[in-house]
Each structure stands twice: as structure tokens, then as C-alpha cells.
Symmetry: C2
Subunit: 412 residues, 2 copies
């Protein structure tokens, strides 16, 4: 018998209890022995429930009980999750967390403590919910050099973009529906501004590069600026629009960004819709692979936490190598990155398109009936070259009484 404690008995924490309970035999077989929850730490009591007798309100009970080997942190936020997790690791306990904010902010320190104390600090559930991407990176691609990670890492924004595309809804309408269904929070900033995606791509990049990534340095753009017309143009061009986090890793040169991206049918992320997440990984040996599943949800996320607990149970007496060092990764700007660019330009196509193509080169054109504007999709160009061309184009457009209404990156 191995004893565990769950800190935070909200959606994910109670889900962990449910997975351990419903798949008891399966978990015991994989872990080598039954896993029993001894304590549930929460501010609330849960009278009349199965955990009634396990609820405690004092963290030190967990910290000081040598029988507790596995601790689950599903409180969220940084306080008190950070001091609690740190204390557990220092006390020689294994910790699994679903808390991406904690991992992005303090992962380096917590990993170093785990290494020193010979225990494991794991966080499979912090990125991609039910998609086993963390374990894939450190277990399955251990012999590979990862050159690119591109992920649809936020289910809320993917749901919003899917609805805007399929139903022709505005961003506001789609957000409202997402909130009504419980997919988006009342303050949706973390999702729609890309902050959630930013923390997740920071974690994946740190894992792949083996160095610390400061998520605050990642250029991050959300989807609040996207409108239904953008998606209609994308459809006519045969493209899908997704909010992605991308990192490109070439030796010490690493660039990371979060932004909406237009992609074609050949991209395995093209058909990933609704609240699903998916992550595309390129390795120098493995080539392109893609991992798809539920990005959130009580049981998928809890199942990922339980997979961590099983790995910890299998490695009670030593640290399994994973994570990143304290060395900080210097992020590069994307000047030489190659994209296609989608632009919407106010005014009449007949009057303006020659001017546009003069500066941007040959473009694919898209027109929507009834709008006093048009859209173009450039060929692949380096970011710095595009920015120079755009600056000149904007000048002459202004002289002609026109302007660029929208700019979105497209995959090259």
C-alpha cells in the first residue's frame, strides 16, 4: 500500500480521487501496489462524501506524515501551492501537479529540489490535459533532437474559433456561448489573450531544450482581434485559423511565439476543432508526429495526474531524469523565420491590388461579396523582409486613402 495526499479538492482534485477509485485495480497493477488517498487538503469540509474522514485543513499534517509518499497539487495559483509543493519535495515526497502557472513560474527551482532529494516533480496534466505530451517528450523522444513544437494548447480559444468559422459568429458571440457552456471563465483574459498558451509553450520548450524559459519573454498575441470575416476569407483560401504556440529550436537558436496562424489541409492540426487540443512535434530523427486529445476536462486531466502518480510509485527510490536546468534559454527574435502573410486592405481591389503586389510580390487574392475591402495572401517571405515591405506599403496606402485592416501569419 502506498499513501497519497490530494491538495485542493476542486474539479481536478476530486477527479483524481475518482480515477484512483474507479480504476483501482488497473492503478494497483501498474503502480505495483494499491494507491490509497490518506488526506484531502481543502478549506472546505465534504460532509456525507467518501472523503469526509480524509479532509484536513492543516498542511503540516501532510508534510510531517512520513507515510505519505505521493502528493497531488490541484489547488491552482501560486499561493499557497508554491510553498506547499516546495515543502513536500524538501520532505522527500513525490509531487504531481496540474498547475501550469506553478510550473511556468517555479518549475526550475522545484525540479532542482526534486533532483537533489531523489524524488520526482511531475506535471503531465499542466499542458494538454489528457494528451500525454510531457511524457512523450522526455520518454519517447529522449533520443531525438526536437526542432519544432507547434500546439493548439487552449481549448477555449479553439472552441471560439471553431464556432466563428462554422456559424459565422462574431468573437463576442462565440465567447458568450463558451462562457455559457462553462468553457470560458467570466474573466476570459488568460485564454483569449493567449497567456495560457504562452505558459504551456514555455513549459514544452524548456523540456525540449533542457533549459529554463521565461514565459514573460515570449511574444504573445491572442484572438480578440480576429473577426468572422477573417475566417470567411480563410475558408475561401482553403485555410484554417488556429491559435498556436510555436517554438523552433536549432541548436542554441530558439524562437518562441504565440499567435493566430493560418494553415493548410496538409498540416495535421488543420482538422483539430472544438475544445480539442493537439501538439505537432518535429524531431531530427522521428520526423513529424502529432498528439491529439482533450485539452481539459475533469477526468482526462485527472487521468494524466494519475499517470504521474504511477510513474512515481514505480520510482519511489530515485529521481527519473526529466525537466530542464537552471541555465536560461536566450530567446531569439524571429527575423529570419519564414511565413506567408494574410492581409485585409480597405478599399477597392481594382484600384489597389497592383500597388499591394508591387510591394508584397505575387499574392493569392480573396474577395468577399459586399465588403469594401479585399484580402491577399503573400508567398513565403522572411519576417524582416515582410516588415520592411509592409512599412512602405502602408505609406502609399495612406496616400491613397486606404489602410491594412488585418494582418495574420500563415505557415510557409
Amino acid at each position: 500500500m502506498i499513501y497519497a495526499a490530494i491538495m485542493g479538492f476542486g474539479t481536478i482534485g476530486s477527479g483524481v480521487y475518482e480515477v484512483l477509485d474507479r480504476n483501482r485495480e488497473q492503478v494497483a497493477a501498474a503502480a505495483g501496489q494499491p494507491v490509497e488517498v490518506k488526506y484531502v487538503l481543502d478549506l472546505r469540509d465534504f460532509p456525507g462524501t467518501a472523503v469526509e474522514d480524509k479532509v484536513i485543513h492543516d498542511f503540516s499534517v501532510i508534510e510531517n506524515d512520513p507515510e505519505v509518499k505521493l502528493v497531488v497539487e490541484t489547488m491552482g495559483g501560486l499561493n499557497p501551492s508554491y510553498p506547499f509543493v516546495k515543502a513536500c519535495l524538501l520532505a522527500g515526497k513525490h509531487v504531481s501537479t496540474s498547475n501550469k502557472a506553478l510550473v511556468a513560474a517555479h518549475g526550475t527551482e522545484l525540479l532542482a529540489i526534486a533532483r537533489k532529494k531523489g524524488v520526482n516533480f511531475q506535471f503531465e496534466a499542466s499542458v494538454g490535459g489528457g494528451i500525454p505530451i510531457i511524457r512523450t517528450l522526455y520518454r519517447c523522444m529522449a533520443g531525438d533532437r526536437v526542432s519544432e513544437i507547434t500546439g493548439i494548447l487552449n481549448g477555449t480559444t479553439n472552441y471560439i474559433l471553431t464556432k466563428m468559422d462554422r456559424e459565422g459568429w462574431s468573437f463576442g458571440q462565440a465567447l458568450k456561448e463558451a462562457q455559457a457552456l462553462g468553457y470560458a471563465e467570466q474573466n476570459p483574459e488568460a485564454d483569449v489573450e493567449g497567456y495560457d498558451t504562452c505558459r504551456k509553450i514555455a513549459i514544452l520548450t524548456a523540456l525540449a531544450a533542457g533549459k529554463e524559459v521565461d514565459y514573460r519573454e515570449i511574444p504573445t498575441e491572442g484572438i480578440t482581434n480576429i473577426c468572422a470575416e477573417d475566417l470567411r476569407y480563410a475558408d475561401t483560401l482553403g485555410l484554417a485559423l488556429k491559435l498556436v504556440g510555436t517554438s523552433r529550436i536549432q541548436g542554441d537558436k530558439v524562437s518562441v511565439r504565440v499567435a493566430p496562424l493560418l494553415m493548410g489541409k496538409e498540416n495535421p492540426l488543420y482538422g483539430v476543432n472544438d475544445v480539442y487540443n493537439a501538439i505537432l512535434v518535429k524531431g531530427n530523427m522521428l520526423g513529424t508526429s502529432m498528439y491529439y486529445g482533450s485539452g481539459a476536462g475533469k477526468l482526462p486531466t485527472a487521468s494524466a495526474v494519475v499517470a504521474d502518480m504511477i510513474e512515481e510509485a514505480q520510482n519511489l527510490d530515485h529521481h527519473v531524469p526529466m525537466g530542464w536546468s537552471g541555465e536560461k534559454l536566450a530567446l531569439q527574435t524571429e527575423d529570419t523565420a519564414v511565413y506567408r502573410y494574410f492581409l485585409r486592405i480597405a478599399g477597392k481591389f481594382e484600384e489597389l491590388h497592383q500597388m499591394v503586389e508591387h510591394y508584397l510580390g505575387d499574392c493569392q487574392i480573396a474577395l468577399l461579396e459586399g465588403l469594401d475591402e479585399f484580402a491577399v495572401l503573400t508567398d513565403a517571405m522572411e519576417k524582416s523582409a515582410f516588415e520592411q515591405a509592409l512599412a512602405r506599403l502602408n505609406e502609399v496606402l495612406a496616400q491613397a486613402g486606404s489602410r491594412t485592416v488585418q494582418i495574420i501569419h500563415g505557415e510557409a
Copy 2:
């Protein structure tokens, strides 16, 4: 330093050498120490190459060298790979193989020996080449109960179906092109008759259910019977046609089959084309997830072997729980499985469709210009009910001088 031997220096074996060489640092960091190939066992010599001094022709050199801890089997076939692998495990060495025939035929015995000797017998590369599906099942879904696995597991047939669909080619034309490109062998039977897919779904099912699966008991249908018209009908119905291996696991009730399957856009396998493989897995907690990548190819497959070697190096002194027991899984027939059915019927739509719908219920209809036939897609029905209805329909069709030209399963 940890020493390894590669048995069989063909495409995959030399790929393993290349991955170990090119990603030397990466591998050493993950394995905890450098991995050095000490021997290459092959019938050939490789004069003038980097392995020239490592080539041996006598297996007993590997078997009797206590310094060799990791052995790679990439010879293929069963003889001598089976006796060699068995001898290595009995000698206390870890073995990684890419050989699905070996795992399907002797996996149960080899896993039992590995368990008894406290070593690891691993086979990530035997299914899905560069897709880390084996490790995902035993590591990442360890706490889940898998209820369904459906995989596009053979790149050759997926390429052929893709070409028949996109180019309108016949099966024979597409096969010829696949052979010219080296995707299909001169004797393509193992691929196009579904035998390769059969062995792979047997391995995945045994892993998920924890019991031995006899691949010879799996109903297996290939794609030799599929023609370009089937794919044109599928297009008009908005469906894609894929050769899949499927297992459904409900407690002790497990059914497995290999056959072409029609699927809709909502299925994540819908957009998997060309030589790519993908595997959809449903877990009772994790929900639906999907894993996509190169099903074959020198470096992707070799990379999977190297991931096995790293895991073995991390667990030199003990067996990592995985695999299945010697208990045999009794496969069920699919009588209560629910499918939609696609049928092509010779003759005139106007004269026959009422008769067809009388027996099969309301159907979606598809017509192709210039053909003296039509196609229908039934609603979802139980397999046994369909078979009864079909028998009666065939009788009355025969009386009317008509017949069913094609029957293909579709997802419900």
C-alpha cells in the same frame, strides 16, 4: 559507458547506429551515460564503413560478453531472431526489437522471460514506427481502462488508398506506383491483405487488455477488393475510406477486426493520408486521444528503438512492468457491434431502391453518372441484424436480376 549490440544491420539496424551516433550527447544525457555499439551482427561485412571493426558473424560472441547490456534485434522474421532474442534475455541482457512478427508470435514467452530475469523486452518500433504508441499505452494510460483502439497501422495501404482517392487510380495502378517508390514490396501480400495490420492490432490489444492475443484469430480483410468507384462514392458521401485495425474492449468482452472502414470528418483519422499512420485510443477516463506520425522509415523507426534503449539504460537493474500475461484473451464475435453499411447494387436506382430500403431501412443514396448501379449507406445497425437483412435482400435482388457489388463497413 554502456555497451550495446545490433543484430541485423539492414535499414533499421543501420538507422539505430546513425541515431546513436548523430544524437550521441542527447542519448547520453537521457540514458545517464554514453551508449556505445560494441558489436554489429550480420552475415555481411561492411568494409570501409564506421562499423567495419564491430562486425561479427557469430551470435555467441554477444551472448557470452557480459559487458553487452543492451541488444537490438532488427533482423526481421522469426529465425534466427527468436532463438537469438530468447538467448539474450536468458543471459540477462535487455532487448529492443522492431520486429512485429516476433512480438506477435513469441511476445508472451519473451515477456515472461524478461520478467523472470529482471530485464526488459521492448518493442516500441514494432507498431506505428515513429509513433510512440506502445509507451503511451503502458506509461501514459497506465491508470486508464482502454475501451477502443482504432489504428491506420500500415503506411503502404494508406498510400494506395490516398492515391486511388486523389488521382482516381485503380488499386493495381496505385500498387504499382507504391512499388516503384519502394513503399510496397514486390510481394505485397502482407500489406494489402491486411496481415501486417493484423499483427499490429494484436500487439496493441494484448497490451491494452493485459492478455495474450492470437493474431490468427482476428478476422482480417485487406484492400484488394476496393476499387476507384468505392472512393468516388465515399467522396460524394463526405466519407474517407481507411484500412484500420480496431479492437473494442469491454471488460472481458473483446472483439478485434481488420477491414476497410468508411469514416466521417469528425473522426480524427479522417485526414490521415499518404504513408502516415495514426492510432486513436479511447480510455474510460482520458476520453479520445490520437497519435499521428511516420509509420515506417529508417530514422523514425530507429528513433523508437533508441527510445527503448534509453529506457533500458535507465532501468538496468530491474524490469519495468509492461506487456501481457500468458492468459489467452478469448476474442468475441462482433454480432452486437454497430456499424453503418455501404453497399453498391447493380442495376437501376429507380427500379430497385424501394426494395433495398424495404430490407435495410432508410438509407443515404449516392449515384455516380454513367454507371449502371447505385450505392446506399444504411443507418447504424447491429451486425447480426444487418446480416439477416442482407441475406433476404440478396434473394430478392437475385430474383430481379441484380446483386450487391460491394459491401464496406462504416463507422456508426
